[in-house]
Homo-oligomer: 589 residues x 2
């Protein structure tokens, strides 16, 4: 049983709320993509996901991928190859890419919203086009004409798929420890080494697979500044097999239909992307979009879990309302939606999911502006917001997504724990999002150690100005003031925390490690408050009995009064500093 | 890979901290059980768990139970029957029971601490003796001599096992909706109906299974006041099969080696326990101990996850310390224990796990006092504390346990998500504890709706007096004051919240439903603070370089400064009241 349906109205509402027509459609690149065109595009993409990918979700989980140690190859569960072929035949793999390379050229914000539906329908499947898209981004930004001709069009069309080959047994977070070697030979290099946890490193859905590989040249300096980036295809131009082989697949708690592989490079031919020793720069192009996508996975599985929990709750009768007026005396028990705690759980999931989706929309729209706006100031500002908010959506989106799936399970009681409903799979599938694409603490270090200091705090000033610009009129609007006041208070506290943290970190670098995770969560809660106020402002002029207006204002209230106060706890944890974790005897742990 | 070892030193430390010798050993019933005897008993029990049950944990998860629809019977994974037979041959099933019925007569606090090891080694297995123990409790309190002779000794020895058959398709939380019927016939009854989610309703580990069944007599009034309680064995005295059959087993996210069954009563013979229509009273005897046990499951899997995460962390090198003085220049990277966030995660898990275990010990010791003390006042006070704190340990123990297993997984990064380590299984196994034995919100309703009003707030006054008695000297002791101050502040806030909630609930009953879950968490955080202060007081006179003293004081500090502040968020949520969840259009959810 899975009742999931794509929240198409929400997507359109968000594009309107964040000013799609003025901010994105107005750019030359997106002249053909008016709001109706975009929503039609999302709808046709979503329909394919629901019709073809969703039915494969459960079988993918149950059957999983098959590794053949003789052939050193991976076979997908039945139906996945056909689903992938249909996916690319419909052009769904190339929605956001440059028409010059065969892409549709749609806005990134549109493809990002649509991708949520793919994750919700089949998270395992979604990771394959997701990685391919990341590789296309990296090549569009970094590859020369030769490489582009060799690889780009096949990747854009989806005929070939991509991977990101970073992690090695001795290093995941700390890529400076990479030992895979690349020896020059003619116009290319020969790569030798072992990578682990490589998603979709092998499968039978497409005809060729291209690995983006981090490795060291013979003259590389040690550490992160000696990493270069290479493209290594499974099959070479002449059809011969390049010696890069899967050594095994991992058995995981979830995403069973996403092959997670050991990948052995045995003198495989590769081509360098970008400059020698500057591989991290290339890789980061890929990682930023991927991090946003991972945050969106939390939204996707939170939404799908919410819908299933709500369907269960609508059907379930149990106990009596504590308010005698609400009791249904024609039945033996009341519908559980009368119980305030059931509503609390559902509203927690819904209000955070909708706000996180709003944040995904806002960030991805700034992505479009940063790349395609004719206005340099607009590009700069958009770039600052994307840089600042990407670690937040990745970390808080994945963490809140995990908690939301668990909360939805709680609404369903024992039923949610069984395989009769999809929520238990969602819980297993969503958990990895807190770990991969940089663990959530790495996001926090990125936020505090890299993004906050940039330009003497410029990114935070850009964000704070956006918040203030929204707050000032809202505080003066009696219809919005009750929502704006708690946000104003928490935004003020966040400024205070940020200043204090900056001063503490200048005196002692280790403070960042100790409190950045708490700081990120504090920041995230304020950010989602900002998103809620924007959504509230968007509906406040509608007639009072309008369903969208009522729903949004009720959720916004719940968010501000029930969810947002947790920011205070995180602020206290930042204030405490490093003492409780550094002034210990580590051997007594 | 699973490095788990029973925390035997912790068990002894807690028995000392909570005054085992003065409070329990001093009672006539436990004269033979001095502290050394108890710790020896726990050790031999724990050794059996580690040697026999732990090796079956992974196979139990992978293979699961087998249901044969022809025979309508369940087969356990290989090795489980032998492990169970060895378990009862060693007398481990009868540790806390009355010697009059063949039990060992050990204190409940001892068997409860020992049970943690069984859950940690094999949670699925542990549920079978756990349910049997609950049934023995119910029968010791309620059964007449005839029934005792018929069933009790076989259950105490573990030769037969027990179940709790409550839930039906239309009712779990709301047992008033039960429809299973019991028709009188001679000295017994014939039961007809369907139960679902019956744990260990069938298996091949023991020779007979006795179901404690809630059902209605023909003259039963409707609702919860018309429920009676029956014993229904799988096999009758003459060896014939009683017509009670398993109709299927559920497929679940975790506890795969614990059969969860549909159970059909097809005119099965049963014997009534206790008075007609008073079945809930009998069942509640069973449920209180079971609820404590469920909270302890969160401790067990939190502890096991912690130990594995710590072992991983000790071995893993990644990145550099942010403090140059801590960098290990002989290696390519530092051990991850230098990273403050890794310590933060480990300390979160450890400090909450140790405090929850302390709470389990304190409650279970009060259990012994309440049943066996010669002093009536002591019995009353102990009874009040058990009643008040049982919903807290069940709810917060299971929720924190779930979060702790997840946090331990986060320490391990991708490795924790794979089946190479046991943590992913623990996450799947522990999640059910938030749902069964009364969902966590049911615990909150029990706390606020039933326990707080008892005797005009007497239970809370007993608890508050305990806290104050500990706080007053601690605040005046310069070695403890820094720990006592945050607790004093939060204890004061809890009193305030309790008073305000009482007043609000009197005016409007629905408030309880809306905020009781938040209130329970606030209460739990203060309770764990109390436990930490008791543990700190226990060690404060030891030499300053004593390892136990250092470890406990460091953890206590972490708890008070980093964990406890969350109580403030929950207090705010209680204060907000019911508006955000009741003043909504429920059809817009």
């Amino acid at each position: 049983m899975n009742v999931y349906r794509p929240p198409l109205d929400e997507f359109r509402f968000l594009l309107e709320t964040f000013g799609y027509s003025e901010n994105v459609h107005s750019m030359e690149r997106f002249a053909e993509f008016d709001l109706d065109t975009c929503t039609d595009l999302i709808e046709s993409f979503a329909t394919y996901c629901v019709d073809v990918l969703l039915p494969l979700n459960e079988v993918g989980d149950k059957v999983g991928v098959h590794f053949d140690p003789e052939a050193r190859s991976v076979t997908m569960p039945e139906g996945f190859r056909d689903a992938y072929q249909g996916f690319i035949e419909n052009g769904f793999g190339s929605v956001p890419f440059d028409p010059e390379h065969g892409g549709l050229g749609a806005p990134f914000c549109v493809s990002t919203l649509a991708s949520e539906v793919m994750s919700a329908c089949n998270k395992s499947f979604s990771m394959c086009p997701g990685l391919t898209a990341g590789l296309v981004d990296a090549l569009e930004a970094n590859a020369d004409e030769v490489l582009s001709a060799k690889f780009l069009e096949k990747l854009v069309s989806g005929e070939w798929t991509g991977t990101m080959a970073l992690t090695e047994p001795q290093c995941g977070t700390d890529l400076g420890l990479i030992t895979t070697r690349a020896e020059p030979e003619g116009d290319h290099y020969l790569l030798t080494g072992t990578k682990i946890w490589i998603t979709f490193a092998d499968h039978d859905m497409a005809d060729n697979i291209v690995h983006l590989v981090l490795a060291r040249l013979p003259d590389a300096p040690p550490g992160i500044k000696g990493i270069s980036c290479f493209l290594v295809p499974k099959f070479l131009d002449d059809g011969t097999r390049n010696p890069v082989f899967v050594g095994g697949t991992d058995h995981k708690m979830g995403i069973h239909a996403s092959p997670t592989c050991v990948l052995n490079f045995e003198g495989a031919k590769g081509w360098i992307v970008g400059e020698p020793h500057r591989g991290m720069k290339t890789m980061f192009v890929m990682m930023n979009a991927a991090r946003l996508q991972v945050g969106a996975e939390g939204v996707a599985l939170g939404e799908a879990s919410y819908q299933n929990a709500l369907a269960f709750a609508k059907d379930r009768r149990q106990s009596r309302s504590l308010d005698p007026k609400k009791q249904d005396r024609d039945a033996a028990a009341d519908n559980i939606l009368v119980h305030p705690d059931v509503r609390r759980m559902l509203l927690t999931v819904k209000s955070t999911t909708q706000a996180l989706r709003g944040l995904v929309c806002w960030i991805s729209m700034n992505y479009d502006i940063m790349h395609h706006s004719a206005d340099e100031d607009a590009r700069k500002k958009a770039n600052d917001l994307v840089a600042l908010l990407t670690p937040i959506i990745k970390s808080y989106g994945s963490e809140r997504g995990f908690l939301n799936v668990s909360e939805a399970m709680q609404v369903m009681g024992g039923a949610g724990f069984t395989q009769d409903w999809p929520v238990e799979q969602y819980l297993r599938d969503v958990r990895i999002a807190m770990i991969y694409e940089g663990t959530n603490h790495i996001q926090a270090l990125d936020l505090v150690g890299r993004k906050l200091p940039t330009g003497g705090g410029r990114l935070m000033r850009v964000f704070a100005a956006e918040v203030q610009e929204l707050l000032t009129p809202a505080l003066a609007d009696e219809r919005l003031a009750a929502l704006a006041q708690p946000l104003a208070k928490e935004a003020q506290r966040l400024s205070q925390t940020t200043m204090e943290l900056g001063a503490a970190a200048m005196a002692d670098n280790e403070v960042i490690g100790a409190v950045s995770s708490a700081y990120l969560n504090q920041f995230a809660l304020v950010t989602l408050g900002y998103i809620w106020l924007r959504m509230a402002k968007q509906v406040v002029d509608l007639p009072e009995d309008d369903a969208v207006r009522r729903s949004k204002l009720q959720q916004a209230r719940f968010y501000m009064e029930v969810v947002l106060p947790e920011a205070g706890t995180f602020a206290k944890r930042v204030k405490v500093g490093k003492g409780p974790v550094t002034e210990i005897d580590v051997e007594l742990l």
